[in-house]
Amino acid sequence: MNYDNDWFLSVLTFTPLVGALVMMLIPKADEALHKAIALAVSGGLFLFGTFYMLTEFDFDNSGAMQFNFDTNWINVINSRYIVGVDGMALPLILLTLLVVPLCVIYSWDHFPEPANPKAFLILILILETGMIGTFVAEDLILFFVFFEVVLLPMFFMIAVWGGPDRRYASLKFFLFTLFGSALMILAFLSLFFLAEDPSGVALRTFDIQALTEWGGANLTRSAGLLIFGGMFMGFGIKVPMFPFHTWLPDAHTQAPTVGSVILAAVLLKLGTYGFIRIAIPILPQAAVEWAPWIGLLAVIGIIYGALGCLAQTDMKRLIAFSSVSHMGFVMLGIATLTTFGINAAVFGMVAHGLITGILFFVAGSVKDRYHTLEIERLGGLLLQAPRMGWILGFATMASLGLPGLAGFWGEFPAILSAYNPANGVSETIFRTYMVIAAVGTVLAAGYLLWLLQRTAFGEPSEEFANDPEIVDASRFEYVAWAPMLVLIVVLGIFPNLIFKTSDPAVEKSLHPCLSAEGEEFIALDCPAVFGVEVAGG
């Protein structure tokens, strides 16, 4: 591997942190300066990062790690500071770079109570560092650290700027994730100690690429399954997968708008990213055996999330439950262990980020105006704030997986891939999942359109009919939303923007035995687990 020690990713990761430190030194009263710095840092980073990556990233070789940097970090445990980007991480990094400045802009003139823009913006910038860091980390410990860095700012964002039940929600969010990551770190450590090359020499490394090359060879079955299980808990809770999802609706409902947006747009992806970057490439054999269970939880999530949505009376909570359902599709794609499924998952992550982000933005703006999100009391948004209403309509359409918009490309290929999962994964089981997932799309349409009907259609209720506060989207809202709306359409029409980038990386991350057929399969001398159908894991 060519480590050319590129400074770029480190700059990308730590610039927000530097910005945050600078802001800490500036007195709280100087709000305008704080906003300017936050916007300059995040926006500048977006422009610079996007430009640099789009021009310098070698898209023809997007399966390879690029912009690598590799240096000593914690010598005693042989953990290194390795960062790099490939086609799987790139879309997610760009998404992060985009979402953060939009959140800053959105907050510009209405910070949630109790205001304090300084602290709020500092948290957002720290979050950005954590999120980018997670996506670029190529060392398990580094990944873990960044994975956790994200928790603190989000915890405070919910706990301080959240809704009435914020104390409960913030802690729940924190505890759940920490529980998962504690088991995850155990799994990482087990990998460190158990990974040995065919000659029996221990690898003793946390380097993700090196471990991927090792690919779980000569690890005992039970050890592999347990380690995968540990990572499953860590990533699965973050995704969140049924039945570890209960933190999500609470966190989303209580979080301030921007918090919800970041949570939905990026944070949930850290979990799914973990699966496709770490768990599956490193332990393909265990993944094969886990796949039916992951798939099962994924489809349960799809249906369950949808049913949860149908029961909601609160708009934001409904959107939160819809995340459970949508991330179910992503996980279903991942569980198939096929390029198709995982590409769909990568796409689904970006699409869900944009779409649910927009939905939360709109919900936040509705709350600003109506001071409630109770669906019963809303209605007639299209009459009172037509543009917002249309944007909501657009977002619901995108969210229900309308082809031509981004959501479709996360959903359909995921369902499709379930028809024909990887070698060793039961076709019968996954085809059943496929049908259930397809039913999930109907439910998705049901709850989303029902939401749209009850909030946007009809006449406004008397309570709000003549409320002067209810105005259409403001400048800041437009600016914050427009890029996401445009991207939803553009990605829907040109899916190859992401597929072509992610595909080589996804292919590289999957063990060749997962897809090999016939003679190739024999030539690779694949372990038995890839050959036989493992019914029910």
């Binding site: 149908l310 590409n343 009459l383 082809p403 359909f412 290929p413 049908v435 009809g458 595909d503």
Partner: protein
């Protein structure tokens, strides 16, 4: 043909593959322009429409006019390409049918049937199959494999291009007056544009995933336009219902397409899927399952029993929308899909040589069922809606019995006369501000002569009266069933006698319910109450315009409304002539026979099955016409004679006989008074017609429709909400979240318990310490 030769671009791109080429006329390779233009128009209207003098309508009309022109050019280019492409590439003629890749493809159809159309055009070139024109670009990739987006242009596609653009143009024009003054006039036109774009995308789709995309997009436009007046809940309910019902069908679409994707070796390519299906490279089981799944999609989109219930509700949308989307174009998408993936369906349902198959059965059942339902509607649009369902049943049945051309031809003719009927109904409703035939119409022929005449013509076409368009297409369907041992015809793909009977019976039903509509709408006296304040039905007007109308008699509208009607009536009259049956005329004009079939059926292409074509028979045509006329006659007698007489007697405009038959004549009693009872016919008619209206059959059907089918749809919705609530409250919040919270409570309470041991007594602490030490010692010494 000079125009087409101008556009002919003699590029020779790519190897010749069975049944398609990447070369061909420029316009055929670039049909992507057709969806693109209205798509851009959509954006333009959305963003700039409101600032324009005509609020965006001008952009919409300009775009549809331009694509209409392109569609016509494309058709002409296609005619030329169809006949001349092969001769230009004579050296490849052999390779065309059997390329290396598909060498196993055998065209095992009857040579005669293939050559039926090979009647030597002006050029006198050799007979050959049709060669589709393709163009494609990479859409996305996965697993290193690239998946294409592209256009597949053959007869079927260019035919549809014309239908869509033509109807769309007329509807645009019609709408400028019909929805004038509407609050969301601009949005209305924007969505018309978007719909047109989506529909055209669907038509030219070369891959199944692209097809799905367009399929969903038209659904969304339908949703948006049905719910155009979303201030009222019933409208948005109808929109939701339409969308959700279609989504249910889409499960089948997705699953079916996925099965085909993998069965055909990971491809979305429609041509390849068809080719492989026909070549027997896909297991029959897969094809059958896929075809059944796709059938579900057809049932929802094309309103086949039992997923048709959304379509009548969809009449909540503006009438021009109903004409365009819910009569002429979108609802035929299902039919179009069957035709597109005909190889799959043909093999999957074993259409050839069997007496019955699911598709034909569904089609037949739908056409009768919906025909019955049309009787009991008071809302003119609902009659037309059920009529559409019924006619879609014809098309599906036609495809189900292997009569591809007949089905497509019926789709073609139906588009014109049904659009004409809807627009006519819209014209009437625009005057009386209501769709209720019984309350608010009657005698309209006096006020609206143009509308009346065009409506009559379209009705004749629908009922299938010679020589109007519907006659030709319906007759072909009946011929195609191949089930007419009774009439001495030959050919066909199977022995679908049941379908034949159903089709003929349907013709009678059609005649009857349309006669009823004609009477209730245009005859009798105007029943509109002058100060009728119900604004709920026609929202096309702003309130002030509405009031201005209120105290005036209805009157004919301006050219924006009448010209489309006249054009459509013209088409309804003449368009049937494009596919005159073989043997109908002889001599020099013989080549004018079967033009539709010749140009539009992708014959002899490897992606299209070798279907057998029946020979028409005069007997059948006459018999079917007579049955149809019988239906008309019965209804005529009931309404135009009995009801009319009674009305005059009572001095008011009746809609039904006030004292319908309350007692049934027993068969025996009827038998012995058969010839002598002077009111026998009266009774017969009233029994049949009024019985159809109010009596057991139609009523039962309607009851079933409303209380079982429709209630099921609603019930499913309601049940999911209840299930959702139950899951959420009892499982999510109680069990799962409860477990989480419980673990917290248990920890906390344990903590509280342990805390009590910390009671501040120092000697107790000392005791703990020593006890701990001894306990540990005990454990380690005696246990471990």
């Amino acid at each position: 043909m000079s125009l087409s030769s101008l556009l002919l671009f003699a590029a020779d791109a790519g190897p010749a593959l069975p049944g398609y080429t990447f070369a061909g006329p420029w316009i055929l390779r670039n049909v992507w322009l057709l969806p693109l233009i209205p798509a851009l128009s959509f954006l333009a209207i959305l963003f700039f429409g409101k600032r324009l003098p005509f609020k965006g309508a001008e952009i919409g009309i300009a775009s549809v006019l331009s694509i209409l022109a392109l569609a016509i050019v494309a058709n002409i280019a296609w005619f030329d390409h169809r006949d001349n492409y092969e001769s230009e590439k004579a050296e490849d003629a052999a390779g065309l049918l059997l390329s290396d890749e598909y060498a196993t493809v055998a065209i095992d159809g009857e040579p005669d049937s293939l050559l039926l159309s090979a009647d030597a055009g002006e050029g006198g070139e050799a007979a050959h199959g049709s060669t589709a024109v393709r163009n494609e670009a990479t859409w996305f990739q996965s697993g290193g494999q690239e998946f294409k987006v592209g256009t597949l242009v053959d007869g079927q596609a260019v035919m549809m291009l014309f239908v869509v653009t033509f109807i769309s143009t007329l509807v645009h024009v019609f709408s400028t007056e019909y929805v004038a003054g509407d609050r969301r006039y601009t949005h209305y036109f924007a969505f018309l544009s978007l719909f047109t774009a989506s529909m055209l995308l669907l038509v030219v789709s070369a891959s199944t995933i692209q097809f799905i995309t367009a399929w969903e997009l038209v659904g969304v436009c339908s949703f948006a336009l049905i719910g155009h007046w979303w201030e009222e809940k019933p409208n948005s309910d109808a929109a939701l219902k339409a969308f959700l019902t279609n989504r249910v069908g889409d499960i089948g679409l997705l699953v079916g397409m996925i099965i085909l994707f993998f069965s055909a070796g990971q491809t979305f390519d429609i041509v390849k899927i068809n080719t492989m299906a026909l070549a027997g490279e896909i297991p029959q089981r897969n094809l059958t399952i896929a075809a059944l799944c796709l059938m579900a999609a057809v049932m929802s989109k094309s309103g086949q029993f039992i997923l048709h219930t959304w379509l009548p509700d969809a009449m909540a949308g503006p009438t021009p929308v109903s004409a365009l989307i819910h009569a002429a174009t979108m609802v035929v998408a299902g039919v179009y899909m069957i035709a597109r993936l005909y190889g799959v369906f043909f093999v999957g349902f074993s259409i050839e040589g069997s007496p019955v198959n699911p598709m034909a059965l569904i089609g037949m059942f739908t056409l009768i069922f919906a025909g019955l339902l049309a009787f009991v509607q008071d809302d003119i649009k609902k009659v037309l809606a059920y009529s559409t369902v019924s006619q879609l049943g014809y098309m599906v049945m036609a495809l189900g019995v292997g009569a591809w051309t007949a089905g497509m031809f019926h789709l073609f003719t139906h588009a014109f006369f049904k659009a004409g009927l809807f627009l006519g109904a819209g014209s009437v409703a625009h005057s009386v501000h209501s769709f209720d035939m019984k309350k608010d119409m009657g005698g309209m022929r006096k006020f609206m002569p143009t509308t009346y005449k065009t409506f009559i013509i379209c009705t004749l076409a629908l009922v299938g009266i010679f020589p109007f368009a519907g006659f030709w297409s319906k007759d072909e369907i009946l011929v195609g069933t191949g089930g007419w041992g009774l009439f001495g015809g030959t050919g066909g793909n199977g022995n679908y006698t049941l379908m034949l009977i159903g089709g003929i019976f349907g013709a009678a039903l059609t005649g009857a319910y349309m006669t009823r509509v004609i009477y209730l709408t245009f005859f009798g006296e105007f029943r509109h109450v002058a100060h009728h304040d119900d604004h709920a039905v026609d929202h096309g007007h702003a309130d002030d315009a509405h009031d201005a109308h209120a105290n005036h008699d209805p009157h004919e509208h301006g050219p924006a409304i009448t010209i489309p009607l006249i054009l459509l009536a013209g088409f309804a009259t003449l368009i049937g002539l494009v596919n005159l049956p073989p043997g109908f005329i002889t001599g020099n004009l013989e080549s004018w026979q079967e033009r539709f079939f010749h140009f539009y059926e992708p014959s002899a292409a490897a992606y299209f099955p070798a279907i057998a074509h029946g020979t028409p028979s005069y007997t059948l045509a006459i018999f079917a016409s007579v049955v149809g006329l019988l239906g008309v006659g019965l209804a005529y007698f009931y309404y135009f004679v009995l009801v009319d007489r009674k009305s005059k007697a009572m001095g008011e405009s009746l809609t039904e006989l006030p004292n319908g038959p309350t007692s049934k004549f027993g068969i025996l009693k009827a038998g012995h008074t058969l010839l002598v009872e002077k009111y026998y016919l009266d009774h017969l008619y009233t029994d049949v017609i009024a019985g159809g209206t109010k009596g057991p059959l139609a009523k039962a059907v309607y009851w079933f429709n409303q209380n079982v089918l429709d209630a099921t749809v609603d019930g499913v919705g309601r049940t999911s909400v209840i299930a959702g609530k139950a899951v959420y409250e009892h499982i999510d919040q109680t069990v799962i979240d409860g477990a989480v919270n419980l673990s917290g409570v248990v920890s906390s309470e344990t903590g509280a318990g342990l805390r009590k041991t910390q009671n501040g007594k120092i000697q107790q602490y000392a005791a703990y310490l020593f006890a701990g030490a001894t306990l540990l010692a005990g454990v380690l010494i005696f246990v471990i």
